[in-house]
């Protein structure tokens, strides 16, 4: 379990079960620009609530440590320039690296990710809580930046299971796109099947009709001589066609039977 993020409104009930609630509070607080809760969670030098500040300090240290480790891992995996800038900008830069890191963690090709995948995957859940916790070091001047940075994470994790790897919007978009594509493909498949069944039925009907007609002709020509027929044996001719048609008919009916069985009849 990753360390829980500090409560936005100063409540010390940081139960692991209330993580989502905490995140919800954080996301709502991130949208407000001037509330006390926002400043208390984001500002390091907050003087609004001393108790909150006290609470934040020890936790932030732990998170800072983990963040450092993770950042090192990032640098090891990717060729990112080290965060050499000092002051608030450094933290902000780290935030950006975090985003890029998470984005690239999913974009990296399978061949290169074999060795690096293990360290990456368990880290992002930690990173998520860190993001909200990292809001601490940011000065109030950086508020708009990390509001944008933190809210997608908090919102997207609400959507997905905490056990899964966290996703930015691109990932869920891709998933959605894939789902739509699959649906369309399934619809096309069904349409094809239906069309084929229709065709079979049609042909069965057609052949049956022809058979009936030919049978009738056969009878007639068998009983009496028909002037319309030519010199060759019309009877045999018709019977031959009849036989062929009947064979085809049987085949078609069999096919149709399979199709209908598939459809559940």
């Amino acid at each position: 379990m990753w360390p829980t993020s500090p409560a936005a409104d100063g409540n010390t009930n940081t139960n692991t079960n209330t993580n989502t609630k905490t995140r919800a509070r954080l996301s709502s607080s991130s949208s407000s620009s001037s509330s006390l809760s926002t400043s208390s969670s984001f500002s390091r030098s907050s003087s609004s609530s001393s108790s909150v500040a006290v609470l934040q300090t020890p936790k932030r240290k732990t998170m800072e440590e983990v963040w450092k480790d993770m950042n090192l891992a990032t640098l090891a995996n990717e060729s990112q320039p080290p965060a050499a800038v000092s002051g608030d900008t450094r933290h902000f830069f780290r935030g950006m690296i975090l985003q890029d890191f998470l984005a690239s963690a999913f974009k990296s090709p399978p061949s290169s990710a074999v060795s690096s995948e293990k360290p990456q995957l368990p880290l992002p859940p930690t990173a998520l809580s860190l993001t909200s916790g990292l809001c601490g070091p940011f000065g109030p001047s950086n508020l708009p930046h990390h509001t944008a940075a933190s809210s997608p994470f908090s919102l997207s994790t609400k959507k997905q299971n905490l056990e899964d790897a966290p996703s930015c919007n691109a990932e869920s978009d891709r998933h959605h796109k894939r789902m739509m594509k699959n649906r369309e493909s399934a619809a096309r498949s069904r349409a094809r099947k239906q069309a084929y069944t229709n065709e079979l039925e049609l042909e069965v009907a057609h052949r049956a009709e022809e058979n009936a007609k030919l049978k009738k002709q056969n009878e007639e020509s068998g009983n009496g001589c028909s002037d319309s027929q030519k010199g060759f044996s019309s009877e045999n001719f018709i019977s031959a066609i009849l036989k062929k048609n009947t064979a085809h008919l049987h085949m078609l009916v069999e096919s149709l039977d399979f199709q209908l069985r598939d459809l559940g009849f």
Binding site: K181, S185, A191, R192, A195, Y196, L202, E203
Partner: protein, 174 residues
């Protein structure tokens, strides 16, 4: 007839319809007739088919158009429609060999998915009134017909085509 057109309408009608199916059209690849919706692999359709046209007056001329509705990929048909073959001035009651080929037969080779390949027959106002289009890809049969006063298709036949080793679509039970 209504059954036949309903299956055609549902499968290809939204792109190529409406239809005015009134003339028999018989298409055979290697002596096997093409049934609507049947499955033909690229190996079976390498060479142009025999096409027999009905009607009753050989002073009436038809144009045959063959297009792929799902090029290059049914999920992303950016080249729809792809023109595979076009023959004009086919006299009624004869076959395609009596006509004049405007676009040579290019055998379909789908790479991805199951493609619908459609043959359509149009009645011309007169002989020598239809001229070849510029490009094969992104062809529009409907606008082409409008341009050359071909009215609605008088016959249509389609089949499904996928790559040789493909295993999509209908499952065989034998």
């Amino acid at each position: 007839m209504s059954n036949e057109s309903s299956s055609l309408i549902s499968t290809i009608g939204d792109i190529l319809g409406p239809f005015n199916l009134s003339v028999p059209l018989r298409i055979t690849y290697n002596n096997r007739p093409v049934i609507n919706g049947c499955d033909l692999r690229p190996s079976a359709i390498l060479n142009r088919p025999m096409v027999e046209v009905g009607g009753d007056d050989f002073r009436v001329f038809y144009t045959l158009v063959m297009v792929n509705l799902d090029a290059p990929n049914p999920s992303n048909p950016t080249l729809r429609e792809y023109l595979h073959w076009m023959v004009t001035d086919i006299p009624a009651t004869t076959n395609v060999t009596f006509g004049r080929q405007l676009i040579s037969y290019e055998s379909p080779r789908p790479m991805m998915g199951i493609h619908r390949i459609v043959f359509m027959l149009f009645r011309q106002l007169g002989r020598n009134t239809v001229f070849e289009p510029d490009l094969r890809h992104n062809f529009s049969t409907r606008s082409f017909a409008q341009e050359y006063n071909l009215s609605l298709p008088v016959a249509a036949v389609y089949f499904n085509c996928q790559r040789e080793a493909g295993s999509g679509g209908r499952r065989f039970h034998n």
